[in-house]
Symmetry: C2
Subunit: 325 residues, 2 copies
């Protein structure tokens, strides 16, 4: 592969300028006191479609040549990636097909349909989603958009890290540690590349659901590992089945370390987000914040930046977090 680098991310940032939200880097004195460190929170729930995924999806679409783009894109995702690809396709005016399991929440189906995407429903007990997607894509010459294992997607997600570095520099804060939620690794690889370029000495941590640390195991083995069972967790945004090969290479090169959090810790972080930041964060989007608040490593007295990566959470789950407040 071409080595993934800061120039990919800078090119993505140029392409995305004016099309994505420059989400704020939030801070709360009371939250700092609770966390016993200086905590800066990148607020990606405020991104279009409610998560960072829009950055990567739009960068991918804008990177394609005109003829290819006009034939359209396919994504399989019951969550933020599907929603983001549907919205990005709408933004550039090309067709999109989103492949969803028949178990997908109606609200998520509606979000994809809202943007004008075509929905294909499959039975996960009988069909393989990748095969269903290929069967749709090939006859129509559509391009499959990976949620993470794609350099243009990784570069798009990396713009979140690039912005965060600019924002840290604006307030003259040099981070000691950066924590990023991780599933396939699209966000964490892009962000790591960006922050290590600006702050070579920063320690980067990925955060996964406890018991389902596929990327931490991949970092140890050097090969993309899978979760052997379907994760029983509310951290649905970071409970995908497999670690990405391209992201893994980036994360290993930068010697990223792994942490993990429980559902209860994520709910506690969502409650803190509500109370101190006035931000709606979804469970998987709150994992990095949860890792700091539950002192998964020694962050005391340090400058710590975390990415709150998404805010698409059902009201009943958010109410569970509030009941902890």
């Amino acid at each position: 592969m071409n080595t993934f680098g800061i120039s990919h991310i800078r090119t993505a940032a140029e392409r995305l300028r004016g099309h994505v939200v420059r989400t704020p880097l939030l801070e709360s004195a009371m939250l700092n006191a609770r966390a016993a460190c200086r905590l800066l929170v990148k607020a990606e729930p405020l991104q279009r479609t409610g998560s960072f995924k829009f950055r990567g999806a739009l960068n991918k679409l804008l990177s394609m040549d005109e003829a290819t783009r006009r034939r359209g894109v396919v994504a399989f995702s019951a969550g933020n990636h599907g929603h983001a690809v549907a919205a990005a396709a709408h933004a550039v005016g090309c067709p999109a097909v989103i492949v969803l399991p028949d178990s997908a929440a109606r609200i998520k189906v509606e979000c994809c349909r809202w943007w004008g995407a075509e929905i294909v429903i499959y039975d996960p007990k009988k069909e393989d989603r990748a095969e269903v997607a290929r069967a749709v894509a090939e006859p129509r010459g559509m391009t499959l958009v990976s949620p993470f294992d794609d350099l243009d997607v990784m570069a798009g997600q990396g713009t979140c890290g690039l912005e965060m570095c600019e924002q840290l520099n604006e307030i003259n804060v040099r981070p000691d540690a950066v924590l990023v939620n991780c599933s396939g690794g699209g966000l964490s690889s892009g962000v790591t590349e960006a922050v290590k370029h600006s702050f070579p000495d920063v320690e980067v941590y990925i955060v996964e659901p406890v018991g389902y640390e596929k990327m931490a195991r991949s970092l140890a083995s050097g090969l993309p590992e899978k979760n052997s069972s379907v994760p029983q967790t509310i951290l649905d945004g970071i409970s995908g089945p497999v670690a990405g090969a391209l992201p893994l290479e980036v994360l290993r090169r930068h010697r990223v370390k792994g942490l993990s959090v429980s559902d209860a810790q994520a709910l506690g972080a969502m409650s803190a987000g509500f109370r101190y930041l006035k931000l709606v964060i979804e469970p998987g989007g709150a994992a990095a914040l949860a890792a700091v608040l539950s002192e998964k490593a020694s962050f005391a007295g340090r400058n710590v930046a975390v990415i709150a990566s998404g805010g698409n959470v059902d009201a009943d789950i958010f109410a569970r977090a509030l009941s902890l407040d």
Copy 2:
């Protein structure tokens, strides 16, 4: 009085630069569709202390001469103003006394105390809060900080409107209407002055709790009117007893119009804030958004900017809004 004007607000903006958050102007395509207009939401829950009140409080403190400031400030407020004065006093290193009724929620007492403010509790059945505050302030030479009837406070709140105009210009949107939550009028007067300077043809609306439209009545009578009874409403942030004389003069000069919303409409807007903007908005902070969503005036097809003015809401009230989702 000196006529309140854009130069007051610009001076305040210079003073506050780097000390307040430049809160984002949020937009959601789905929310636009629901509102049937282009809706831009200024996200002041993301301001320090969780509301716009920090702007006015800090501007007031920074406007005082050094000797006066060193003697300290007094505020009477069970809500966002007290919290903001306590935090602003902490920021400039001067003493603060916050006068609170014995009925004040413990969380609000704790917030003021957290910033190092001295707390004086009074019995609202037997004592007048203004007299209690004066009795504290006079012997110590402390300055009483009005929540709204003060040009420096109004100018500080106006910086929220100034920023919003800059942000609208950045995205090339000329607003047809601006809606601002209103109690005493500190925020609405400052914002009106700022937006009318940038966009002379814009229509400005204040939004109050239905049945307690003291400012709308003041606009009609030309005198600061009171609410004759204690408002029975969850819109506590905009249910103060009296309209401010200085704000009233500004609002009348600009021919501002009044709208009002119910508790249920505010809860609906909070639910929309959760779902579409990923923003925690308190009931009184959601009134302007509620007025647009409940079509209190004809906003269809127009560019409408609203200020979501605060996010300090108890978990149980927020859960009520979520249950509508």
